[in-house]
Amino acid sequence: MTRSEKIALNEAFGIPEPEKKRQFIAEYEQLAKKQKRKSISPLFY
């Protein structure tokens, strides 16, 4: 499929742009950072 066909196909689907993307991505990145920081407790001390 050519690039112009892909563009036409994308337009033909007529999907509106998301509106809350920016805000969510900022929140998601914070959450993902927290998730990464969680370390597994050692079984034995």
Binding site: S4, K6, L9, I15, P18, K21, F24, Y28
Partner: protein
């Protein structure tokens, strides 16, 4: 994983199923939050498979909720929504004549650029079967449009 890129792709996939911008966006966000609860995969293919599986299940749940509420409370019939999304142009009309799974596969492969093997895993098909299906859908679209190319 590039969240910016995947957000748009998952959103498109959800929108195609639920046909409502806000609902599609809510499901997209829920998909990413649930994804965080799973172990992170190093392979992009596995990550994509997990994201689309979560999104697909959430869309199905949404559909069930809507069915339970009753069709009378929805804004428009499926046909009306279909008409509003896929109208005016012949390619839109040709896409509208495809069944929903075929339309979804075209979106996944050519708009979201999901690898064939991942599409196979999402729909429980071999990659050969996916390739055959894509060829059949494209032939159908070409035939419908009466041209060699889609535009």
């Amino acid at each position: 994983m590039d969240i910016e890129e995947q957000y748009d792709k998952i959103y498109r996939f959800c929108y195609l199923r639920v046909r409502h911008r806000e609902t599609a966006e809510d499901i997209t966000q829920e998909t990413f939050l649930r994804y965080l609860e799973h172990p992170q995969y190093h392979s992009l293919d596995k990550t994509l498979q997990l994201l689309y599986t979560i999104a697909g299940n959430l869309c199905t749940d949404e559909f069930r909720k809507k069915t339970a509420v009753g069709l009378s409370e929805t804004d428009a019939s499926d046909d009306d929504i279909e008409d509003s999304v896929l109208s005016k142009f012949s390619l839109k009309q040709a896409l509208g004549r495809l069944d929903s799974t075929d339309r979804e596969i075209i979106l996944l492969r050519y708009i979201n650029e999901v690898p064939v093997n991942v599409i196979g895993k999402i729909y429980n098909m071999s990659r050969f079967a996916v390739n055959r299906k894509i060829k059949r859908i494209l032939d159908e679209l070409h035939k419908d449009l009466g041209k060699e190319e889609l535009i």
